[in-house]
């Protein structure tokens, strides 16, 4: 979409193009150079999602892919089944909605879902990755997308040199 506008309006300067290309490629480089950050992100992501559904953790895969105008996070999270409703009643939540704040003003009654561990939201995770990769998020650019892909057969363990936690290596 951005490319269409860029071509439609006066063509942007080559230095602006270069700057943007560098921003993306360096972000990509940093991500592939920080396997521990990516592994932590993968773990945290699985933890969040596991609050709502049961996942096949061994076959969870998180990678980063550079596209023409953004670096996107791709997550392949095979889902096994819904989690049973939480104790004390209340409907099990859908995947999309974030955990609600505990209800206030209710004396004595425990909230439907207790947040035992620190709340980690998906937008916060994405922000953490970007901060860790030390690249500013450009204004006007789409935020990195999180997509669910069709389940792929897990790749065999690569021989030597692959970053831990990856079923298939990303860029670099």
């Amino acid at each position: 979409m951005m490319d269409f506008f860029k071509n439609w309006l006066k063509r942007e300067t080559s230095s602006a193009t270069a700057k943007e290309r560098l921003r993306l490629v360096l972000l990509s480089d940093h991500l592939s150079l920080a396997p521990d950050v990516v592994e932590n992100l993968r773990r945290d992501l699985i933890a969040v999602i596991s609050r709502y559904v049961e996942v096949d953790e061994a076959h969870c895969d998180v990678s980063f892919e550079q596209q023409d105008s953004a670096v996107a996070m791709l997550a392949n999270i095979p889902i096994l089944k819904m989690k049973t409703p939480p104790p004390g009643g209340g409907a099990p939540r859908t995947q999309a909605s974030p955990p609600a704040a505990p209800p206030t003003g209710m004396d004595g009654a425990a909230p439907a879902m207790t947040v035992a561990e620190p709340a980690v939201t998906v937008p916060a995770l994405i922000h953490a990755v970007e901060t860790a990769a030390e690249a500013p998020v450009g204004a006007g650019l789409p935020a990195p997308k999180k997509r669910r892909r069709r389940r792929r057969p897990a790749n065999p363990n690569p021989a030597g040199g692959a970053q831990p936690g990856f079923a298939s290596p990303a860029v670099g």
């Binding site: 300067t13 230095s15 490629v25 480089d29």
Partner: protein, 263 residues
Amino acid sequence: MSARRIVVTSGKGGVGKTTTTANLGAALAQRGHRVVLVDADIGLRNLDLVLGVEKRIVFDLVEVVEGRCQLRQALIKDKRFPSLAMLPAAQTRDKGAVSELQMTEVIEELAETCDYILIDCPAGIEHGFRTAIAGAREAIVVTTPEVSAIRDADRVIGKLHERGLPLRLVVNRVRPEMVKSGDMMSVDDVCEILSADLLGIVPDDEEIIDTTNRGEPIVLDAVSRLGSVYEKIARRLEGEIVPFTQFDAPGFFGRLKTFWKAG
């Protein structure tokens, strides 16, 4: 007080590490400091050529490290700057000839008798690079406003961060008129992309080629615009706050003047 140990590196080759090392070293020496330049580019040495001392090399770094000569025997004193000396690299292909520990020891020995040590680093981020940064406590990263140079500088900065080395940027070969027309990234762009502090800006200048060919540091030429650039970088290195020279693109009449003058 012990010397400052500064490695001059870049990642990408050909962006001006050696020229920067030579000219900055000369500028510091001109300001009265005792300076030693160490050529750590084993195998493809070039600092000697840039300084014009290639015919005076007797011993080199490898021979020092192997104990075949004393350190002071290998140092070549510059004839133009009394307080400037250079330690040549070896011409051997084997970059493993000097270990990181040995390099550190040489730097420590040098540090006792001078104020500044500038280590000219080879291109790349491999063994030669690791050896060159072994004895350093700080770094100057040289880059140009060009995509490959910046990408490689970014890698090198990552490696320097891993070692905990503070660093500052010298942006070389800037063409102000191209920056103005949007054909070249600006110095601000470069610093922003690399998240690094700026030490100096050096404009693209054909004088550099000539002086490199003749083996004469550009600070020798008192009226040279570039000579004052390196003098300013030296002052910033000393800790002085020096405003950056405004290299404005020449105006219409300025261009005409250059046109006729160059003919």
